[in-house]
Amino acid sequence: MFLTRIFYGIEFFVVLVVEIIKAVFDTAACSLKGDVDPVVVEIRPDLKRPVSLAILSNTITLTPGTITVDMDQDERVLTVSAITPRATEAIIPLEPYIKKMLE
C-alpha cells in the first residue's frame, strides 16, 4: 500500500510539472494579448484531509494563472482567483491525483 502511494506521488509530480509548463505558456499568452480578466471563485474540492487541501492549495498557486486566496479547513472551501474565467475542472486539474495519493 505504501509503495502504491509512492507511485501515485511520482505520477502526481509528473502531471504537476506538465500542468505548470502548460500554465506558464497560457499565462504568458494572456499577458501578451492583454486578455486579463481576474475572477475570484469559491470551490469545494472533494478532499477530506487538511493535508490534501493544503497540497491542492499549493498546486493551484504553483501553476501560473491561478492562486489560492483563502482556505477554510472546517468547511473545506477554497477561495481561488484565476486570471481569466474558467471552469472548476480547469482550476483544480490535480484533485484526482491528490485523492489517489493521500486518501
Binding site: T27, V36, V40, S57, I67, D70, S81, I83
Partner: protein
C-alpha cells in the same frame, strides 16, 4: 609527411540545450513584464490577484534557472516556498484592503 587533421567540433549539446532553455525563460520574463506593466489599473477588481498570477511565471522561470546553473537544491526550496509567499500576499490583500469576508 605531415598529416592534416581536420577536427570538426560540434558544440556541447548540453550547453546548447541549457542556452535554449535560458533564452525561453528570458522571453517568458519579458512576457510577464508586459503583463505587469499593462495591468496597473487599480479600478479593475481583483487586479492585484492578476498581477500575482502573472508573477507566477517569474517564480517558475526562477526555479528553472536555479536548476540549470547547478543549484537544484535551491531550486527545490524555491519551488516549495514560493506558493507560501504568494498565499500570504493574496490573503493579506483579500482580508485587508479588499475587506471581503
Amino acid at each position: 609527411m605531415a598529416t592534416a587533421e581536420i577536427s570538426l567540433t560540434i558544440g556541447d549539446p548540453v550547453g546548447i540545450i541549457i542556452g535554449i532553455l535560458l533564452i525561453i525563460g528570458g522571453i517568458l520574463i519579458l512576457c510577464a513584464t508586459k503583463g505587469l506593466i499593462c495591468n496597473t489599473d487599480d479600478d479593475v477588481k481583483y487586479n492585484v490577484f492578476a498581477r500575482l498570477e502573472i508573477l507566477g511565471i517569474v517564480d517558475m522561470v526562477g526555479v528553472l534557472v536555479l536548476i540549470l546553473v547547478g543549484q537544484p537544491a535551491l531550486g527545490v526550496v524555491y519551488f516549495i516556498l514560493a506558493p507560501f509567499a504568494t498565499h500570504a500576499i493574496a490573503k493579506g490583500h483579500f482580508r485587508g484592503e479588499q475587506e471581503e469576508q
